[in-house]
């Protein structure tokens, strides 16, 4: 489509001649005889070039120029000026006319002016294109930059999250400390088990101490920049004690100084527990082998008495030999059952039982032995006792163990003429209390202190050192305790306390503590 040019002149002759000339040059020519008409056409057709006479009635060329430039700064306006209007022509340049040509219009001058206008238009177009390109490029680059930045930020965040996750999920405690032993960071496991406030002291968090721990590996690391380790027992915020193995590592600042120390601690409580189990197992095996040697010697003794008695036809010795064999077989049975119980630390089997029935059954088992040794047996049972939930078979054997100890304490005591064992049961608001009181040989302080330790026996070869250890474990499993009062030569008083912790559904009530439990107890005693 050809370029539009608006020709404005009040002289019809000029419009006609110039119009033909411009049409020949390939323009689509619009003509107007006045400024008003020209503005109308301009607004309607938006020509890129306007050729306007300066002197016209009404809106003159200068005013037209100003209005057009105000509305469309890119429209190029060439002024046509008469000879006397040079001042006006120059003034028009101030209003950004592209050029002016003088009347009478020379074709060459018009061509030059038009050419110049075209150059201006094309330069401006190029400039616009450049500008647009530049803007587009800037926009594109900015967008790319923003996207890259966003990606980097996301990656950074992901990385930070991942490291935090690693820090938190490492299966050990990690804490970071400054030189004043203050916590500056701690992983989730540390926080969960020990609580955590930035700035709190490590020895307070770990050990509830008021001052740094002796042999602190962190102090060494601050001094020499090396990793150190230690094993310690720490207390969690819930009060549990853990064995931990701790390693330290220095954290350097930019100047290469150790400003903080990281401590990594592994919970080795299970390992230590296992070790102590193994140790007691070793002790158990030692004790068993020692016990078995004693028992075999005893059996040899019994057999010897029998054989020698038969060959001498000594009835008394045969009887003694037979009693010895019986006694040793009893000891073997007891020892094997002690070991079996120790080996199988079983779950408690709770049942509701009548305390009075239970106490009667226990008493019935030990009474014959007391009678045969001339020991007076006193039952002191509170008749208003109700029921209690406990594992009858194991408590049964624990009580029998304590009662049999009382019998032995009386048998061994030669200083008194008569012996009495009192077996009592009472209750208070929260617990059932069994009492076993004897006036036998009693215990010194040392024996009292070691009474419940594994493999401690005051009975020499006759004891395995398991009985009271197991009795104590059984009562503790019930949440109870065994208290002992005793003086050497005076006798002993055991108080067995079993709290009313559990209540078992009434449907499982076993009012008559079953025969099975009794035989269980006999197996375990």
């Amino acid at each position: 489509m050809s370029e539009k040019i608006l020709l404005v002149d009040d002289e019809e002759g000029i419009r006609k001649v110039l119009g033909i000339s411009l049409s020949d040059s390939g323009y689509e020519v619009l003509t107007a005889e006045s400024g008003e008409k020209a503005l109308h056409l301009f607004r309607h057709h938006n020509p890129s070039i306007v050729l306007s006479d300066i002197r016209m009635p009404g809106i003159d060329g200068i005013e037209l120029l100003r209005r057009i430039k105000a509305e469309s700064p890119d429209t190029e306006v060439i002024m046509i000026s008469g000879h006397g209007d040079m001042d006006l022509a120059i003034q028009s340049l101030k209003y950004e006319a592209a050029d002016f040509i003088l009347k009478p219009i020379q074709d060459d001058a018009l061509d030059v002016a038009l050419k110049r206008v075209h150059e201006r238009i094309s330069v401006r177009e190029q400039l616009r294109e450049y500008t647009q390109d530049l803007e587009r490029m800037v926009r594109e680059k900015s967008e790319k930059l923003i996207a890259t930045e966003r990606l980097a930020a996301q990656q950074h965040q992901r990385l930070a999250q991942r490291y935090q996750q690693l820090f938190d999920e490492v299966p050990c405690y990690i804490s970071v400390h400054d030189k004043d032993f203050r916590l500056t960071a701690a992983n989730r496991r540390f926080q969960e088990d020990f609580g955590y406030h930035i700035g709190s002291y490590c020895y307070a968090a770990y050990k509830q101490r008021q001052a740094p721990c002796p042999n602190c590996p962190m102090i060494q690391t601050f001094e020499d920049g090396q990793s150190h380790y230690t094993e310690a027992i720490v207390t969690s915020k819930s009060g549990e004690q853990y064995n931990v193995l701790s390693w330290t590592a220095p954290i350097y600042n930019e100047a290469g100084q150790v400003t903080q120390v990281m401590e990594m601690s592994t919970n080795v409580t299970q390992v230590r527990k296992l070790q102590s189990h193994l140790t007691s197992l070793g002790l158990l095996i030692g004790s068993i082998s020692h016990g078995i040697k004693g028992l075999l010697t005893g059996l040899d003794g019994g057999m010897y008495l029998l054989n020698s008695g038969f060959s001498k036809e000594d009835k008394q010795q045969i009887k003694e030999g037979w009693q010895t064999v019986n006694l040793i077989v009893g000891r073997i049975r007891k020892m094997v059952l002690d070991i079996l119980y120790y080996a199988r630390e079983r779950e408690l089997q709770w049942e509701n039982i009548s305390v009075l029935t239970f106490a009667d059954q226990v008493a019935a088992i030990v009474e014959p032995k007391m009678v045969s040794h001339g020991i007076q047996f006193v039952r002191d049972f509170d008749q208003s006792l109700g029921t209690i939930a406990l594992d009858a078979s194991v408590v049964h054997s624990a009580l029998i163990n304590i009662l049999e100890n009382a019998i032995e304490a009386c048998i061994e005591d030669k200083s008194k003429r008569s012996h009495t064992i009192t077996f009592g049961v009472k209750q208070d608001d929260t617990a059932i209390l069994f009492h076993v009181h004897d006036n036998g040989i009693g215990m010194d302080k040392e024996t009292r202190a070691k009474l419940f330790t594994l493999f401690f026996s005051s009975k020499g070869q006759k004891g395995t050192g398991l009985g009271l250890f197991i009795a104590n474990q059984v009562i503790r499993q019930h949440g109870g305790s065994i208290k002992v009062e005793s003086e050497r030569g005076e006798g002993s008083h055991f108080i067995i306390k079993i709290p009313r912790l559990h209540s078992v559904e009434e449907t499982t009530v076993a009012p008559q503590h079953s025969v099975t439990s009794t035989s269980d107890a006999q197996r375990l005693d």
């Binding site: 003794g301 008495l305 010895t324 026996s457």
Partner: protein, 118 residues
């Protein structure tokens, strides 16, 4: 007169066993249930040999043995150790014999015969 042997053991079953064994073989015996009792018994008994158990509740055989060897009057009495604990004989250096429980009665008699005669 028959040679006398003191049997020291806290287990009456074992005491009865050793005593019968020794008496069947012509020895006289006296017995004590622990080291302290044995030491007091030495005031009125003069055994030719002591058969000593080591692990006893009141006073361990090792302690009794130390007392015995320190006392000039008794330090020459030969001692045969009969113990259930392995390695314990190391603390009784001058024992004329060491028997681990369960012991062979023939071996005990051999040692005694070799040491003090029948």
């Amino acid at each position: 007169m028959a040679k006398k042997i003191m049997v020291v053991d806290d287990d009456p079953v074992i005491v009865k066993y050793i005593v019968t064994l020794l008496q069947d073989n012509g020895y006289a015996t006296c017995t004590a249930a622990d080291g302290l009792e044995a030491y007091h018994m030495l005031k009125h008994e003069q055994p030719d040999l002591i058969a000593l158990d080591l692990e006893m509740p009141e006073e361990w055989g090792t302690k009794f043995y130390r007392r015995l060897t320190k006392d000039e009057k008794f330090s020459s009495i030969p001692v045969v150790v009969i113990s259930g604990l392995p390695g314990r004989h190391l603390s009784i250096k001058k024992a004329v014999g060491y028997l681990a429980k369960p012991f062979d009665p023939g071996q005990l008699l051999d040692i005694i015969k070799k040491t003090i005669g029948p």
